[in-house]
Amino acid sequence: MNNYFRITDEFISVEDVVNMVVRPESGAVNTFIGTVREFTKGKRTLYLHYDAYVPMAEKKLAQIGDEIQTKWPDARVAITHRIGELHISDIAVVIAVSTPHRADSYDASRYAIERIKEIVPIWKKEHWEDGESWIGDQLETKAYPTGKPEEEDLYG
């Protein structure tokens, strides 16, 4: 059985995630691959450590899948996120969305990654040349005046 919404501590095969959403009805498969970046604002990352509340994180990934199904009823989605120690250019997350036509596949894929950064209990610790720190909210499209997601953000 396919596990469409998964947290793993092993290497992610992009092809395995893509294959879960390929089907005759789709004319587009959009793949988002999140990788470990070496430089952030001039600071050099040596490696990252991802931690997760695994059962809840998988539930929240599935919730994102449900939200996408409501917004784009013809979409099929699979998301795998890796945890543990990751090095530069390692794949941290793969999102695959298939839809009948291309526009919806881009929109749904973008929606998925933004929601991951809002509601999925996964945390990234940066290990730099000169120290380490857990990273908080990284949403680039929305500011939280209270410093955290509001209830409407959590429940979708």
């Binding site: 991802y50 997760a52 509340y53 809840m56 945390w123 908080g136």
Partner: protein, 77 residues
């Protein structure tokens, strides 16, 4: 008893992954105070909370056997 799960910076501050607190009948805000005072976790104001793997708020009353998680600002992706 209520099981309290700690992650990321909270886990490092307390030096453990979980604690058991006698908090049945109390709101989650009570657990927050105990974590601050007894376990040295100070940065809880930015945290979200979940009970039995669903987000909720600090006023939720806890039952015996509940699992509470304090969720620091997330940074997946």
């Amino acid at each position: 008893m209520v099981k309290v799960l700690l992650f990321a910076q909270f886990q490092e501050a307390a030096g453990r992954e979980s604690v058991e607190i006698d908090a049945a009948g109390h709101p989650i805000s009570h657990v927050k105070s105990v974590l601050k005072e007894n376990y040295g976790i100070l940065e809880l104001d930015d945290a979200n909370v979940a009970v039995n793997e669903e987000y909720t708020n600090m006023s939720t009353e806890l039952k015996d056997g509940d699992t509470v998680a304090f969720i620091p600002p997330v940074s997946g992706g």
